[in-house]
Symmetry: C2
DNA sequence: CTTATTCATAACTCTTTGGCTATCAATTAA
DNA sequence: TTAATTGATAGCCAAAGAGTTATGAATAAG
């Protein structure tokens, strides 16, 4: 069973990669050059990180001329939140925040 | 910036470790021996995984005689869900901005 | 007291991975 | 056409990490 949350956890475990994802969440659509200027690593490093994020279904890319724009995939974090909800449901410590978030992400 | 969600993401990135955490969520309090019987790795391997989970604040331990019982830490996944909510809030806010813009353009 | 059990730590191996530089294909500008 | 820019890929290397066996400390049992 190759669950959807496994590559997501893997992808978000690295701080550099998570920072790139956070920036995409915060500022929206970005070119590789823009992300490279801000991330503390080389351009090939950024490209590799973006490939991992894309593979995990967290981001999508759009080609425009010679530049590639990356943006957050819609409902990217849903498998993660669903998993957390399942775990929380097990130990019955119902988190109101979680239920609220699940409700908002279901739309 | 050593945020609380960083060690959590790291800890949950490994499938063996995540399986241990899932079992603790599902079945509650477990001894190391019980977890070892079920995980596909050696007892020292399980102990090491449990140390990582504990360090991340995901589980807590309780000593009873010569055995150690592990269980899920209360609100263990809250930093994770909070982070996800924050990320979701970012693109949600963008959507609001867009709706706002669209609304203003209607007039 | 001696032996068995339970778990943690130490020490090691091997794989994965995150970083780099070099380079290439594709596109745009001169 | 030629030169410059953008980003992806290849290849390499060092560090991290997940696994192992061996062993030690603490407790329980005989």
């Amino acid at each position: 069973m190759a669950k959807a949350h496994d590559p997501i956890f893997r992808a978000l475990a690295d701080p550099t990669r998570r920072a790139i994802f956070e920036r995409l969440c915060h500022d929206g659509d970005q070119t590789v050059a823009a992300l490279t200027a801000y991330a503390g690593v080389s351009q090939p490093g950024v490209s590799k990180h973006l490939a991992v994020l894309k593979q995990a279904g967290l981001v999508c890319d759009r080609h425009e001329g010679r530049q590639t724009h990356y943006s957050v995939q819609r409902d990217a974090l849903k498998p993660l939140v669903d998993w957390a909800g399942q775990m929380a449901g097990f130990w019955e410590g119902k988190l109101d925040d979680l239920e609220d978030l699940l409700g908002r992400m279901d739309q």
